[in-house]
Symmetry: C2
């Protein structure tokens, strides 16, 4: 496909090129344009039919968008911005440098400019920042016939027409009616009689993660957003929520790996920003490893007496870390999907303890023979090591399930209580257990 | 809410209770019923209006569903199963024990039974297993007027009516037309002239992860599914895809934490299954730690000469593991969101090396002073340790970005190449680096 486009471009066969592009999806055209040499970008973009151009523009990454905007004439800029949905416009503007923003707003309709400015004020990741204000609103005294007329008249540039919202003169949300209901009712029916009155809604400042949960829970296609006075100010559509779900999952995953989350794709983040996102945790975890050093210093003599002990420290700590990591990550995910509540704590602990026991025993037994057969140490050492493994695994899994739940309880982000953090704690604990048992057995 | 329900139930005020429940969402009623004592479950369920009852049934977890089914009379069972959408029915059946499945199928309409059986044959996690066969189909010679008549007649129990699919006599997919287009066209317009002909579709055997990507990419509300002969066999709706997105993210997260993924919520998985999901990796990783033991055994004498070295092994390995983990997890997520391709490999490596250098230097410097000031060791030791940290971090990040990409390249699941696995490799490598530098400096 791409080769074909380039060839047609070089042969300046623009009409054919136009036909070809018309058959493609905005997302795919955007992906292709991003790969194109800068100088060809504006030309190619101008070939696109007006509407397709706008849809494509929305799908491009902000760097390419900025590049294009610079190449736009004021009229072109206006055409594009008028074509796209308001919430997309806001998303774009949020990524642009001040001078570009100024230019965009200068050429927007006064009405639009005002709306954009209002939307820009909502905190990032809030329902308000996700919503669009373009929806079909009806009055309760309309008939189905009126409703259809209104949809036909105003529907063209609404993001969704399938859920219509009923408001009173003060824009208070009274109810909603789906186009499905409209289609299955008689033209004479009055909206008030067929509308759904117990409406699920979000408030402008609600967190986008909560919004995503609501969508998943109730299988919604769109969710109305009301302000503090319960006035309907906008709607959120499912496609924006799908992106949020991906974002939120990525954020959790990054936190679990001891990374400060960044909401931009990996290839777009510079070396310096990547560094800044990673170094804090690395430093913190390295410094907190001081405890393990202290413990080992404390037992230096013991290690001198039974040097064989040193050999198994990495294996012991690794196993502990893995065991704890498994639990913490499972719990963290359960918490963020609301599958686990604080009140489940006892059940969780009880379950993890039993799992830990099973895992611990299995590992201990295998470890015992491994130490004797593979590492060729004496049974005494094998006993110490495997006993340490058993206890460590149990402690690790306990820590792994308690910390995240507690973290959430005290309003902390549980995702931080994942493997790296747990590991650092378990490392220290496992050493203490190890030497305690060793001293017992070898009477150090 | 719940207390109120229980009170009304005890006072046997069923009509009031019914009114109260009518105001609630199926998801919330289901959540409440799951908490109810078993004996009250059937009674409460029978109070629900027919349709609400069906919707609620779908939202319940399989244990509660099974419980209810056992309490159902054959007629009740039939009413519920007739009410719910076919794809939901199949999801339920997949979770039920054989005898229950038999009973369900025995009481289903022959037509329905045949369809259910067909859907049951698609592999789990395939587009076929996600799809519903209830959609509005149109013929290309219909007028908009005809289309609306057809929607009005057949739309009631279709999962979505907003995208209608145009087929020829052989059920070949010709195109689609959205209700929005229908509403904005004239009644006389012919479908063929207004339908969208370049349709994005999935094939029955396509993986659900690919399906989810398609939805996210193209902001679809529904996706048609065709069989090998390109005949339209069903559609997938966005709400099912949202669940898939959550599932897939969870699966990745579990794999990254060295757990065999299970597609059931944590609280529902028994101790034994949890054990089986976790023990294999724990065993494998413990045994592969044998390398670290071997390395340490090999350098026992060196450690005897400079016992101070032992003290920093955990810190060194921890830092290496964390550094590698950060990179691998970032890359893995990037791969599964298709933000990173194989061809990006050089760029990725080049970037990670620079990040690694920055992180490594920072950590090394801090580490140097930490060892001298906090751990009170001599500068020589500090030098060795911090040098080891620098090199380890670089190697760790390199391993962390190369392994996942290679894994994907050779058709492996990259998610497995996360922290635990990387850590085990890095542990061994970091020790080798450590002792190499130590021997150099102390001439061991």
């Amino acid at each position: 496909m791409e080769e074909q486009v380039i060839r047609l471009l070089e042969q300046r066969q623009f009409s054919q090129l136009r036909e070809l592009l018309k058959e493609m999806e905005p997302f795919d055209i955007a992906a292709m344009l991003e790969e194109m040499p800068e100088e060809q970008l504006p030309l190619l973009f101008r070939i696109l039919p007006k509407e397709l151009a706008a849809d494509t523009f929305v799908e491009m990454d902000s760097d390419t968008q900025e590049l294009l905007i610079h190449s736009f004439s004021d009229r072109e800029l206006k055409t594009v911005m008028d074509q796209i949905y308001l919430d997309d416009a806001v998303d774009i503007i949020e990524e642009m440098p001040a001078n570009v923003v100024k230019r965009i707003l200068r050429h927007a309709e006064p009405e639009t400019r005002m709306q954009i400015n209002r939307l820009l004020q909502y905190p990032e990741d809030s329902a308000g920042s996700l919503m669009t204000i373009e929806f079909v609103d009806l009055r309760k005294d309309m008939t189905v016939q009126d409703a259809f007329t209104r949809i036909r008249r105003t529907g063209v540039n609404k993001e969704t027409i399938y859920t219509c919202y009923v408001m009173d003169q003060n824009r208070m949300l009274l109810g909603l009616v789906s186009v499905k209901t409209l289609l299955l009712s008689n033209y004479e029916d009055v909206i008030e009689d067929i509308m759904e009155t117990n409406v699920i809604y979000a408030t402008t400042l609600e967190d986008q993660e909560a919004v995503a949960d609501t969508f998943a829970k109730y299988d919604l296609m769109a969710l109305p957003v009301v302000d503090m006075e319960h006035r309907l100010v906008g709607i959120i559509t499912f496609d924006d929520v799908m992106d949020v779900m991906q974002e939120e999952a990525t954020e959790d995953i990054e936190k679990m790996a001891a990374i400060m989350p960044s909401d931009r794709p990996y290839m777009k983040v510079g070396v310096w920003d990547t560094y800044k996102n990673r170094i804090p945790w690395l430093l913190f975890l390295m410094l907190s490893a001081t405890f393990t050093s202290m413990i080992l210093t404390h037992f230096e003599t013991a290690l001198a007496v039974v040097p064989a002990l040193t050999v198994f420290i990495p294996m012991l700590m690794g196993t502990g870390g893995n065991a704890g990591g498994q639990t913490s990550v499972t719990i963290i995910r359960g918490l963020s999907l609301n599958e686990i509540e604080y009140r489940d704590m006892p059940a969780v602990i009880w379950k993890e303890l039993r799992v830990a026991a099973c895992c611990g025993v299995t590992l201990a037994v295998v470890c015992f023979f491994k130490v004797i057969l593979l590492d060729r140490k004496n049974p005494m050492t094998a006993l110490v090591v495997s006993a340490a493994v058993l206890v460590t695994v149990c402690v690790a899994k306990l820590v792994g399930c308690v910390l995240p739940v507690l973290a959430k309880r005290i309003g902390f982000d549980p995702a931080v209580m994942a493997s790296p953090f747990i590991t650092t704690i378990v490392d220290a604990v496992s050493l203490l257990i190890y030497f305690a048992i060793a001293s017992l057995v070898f009477g150090l």
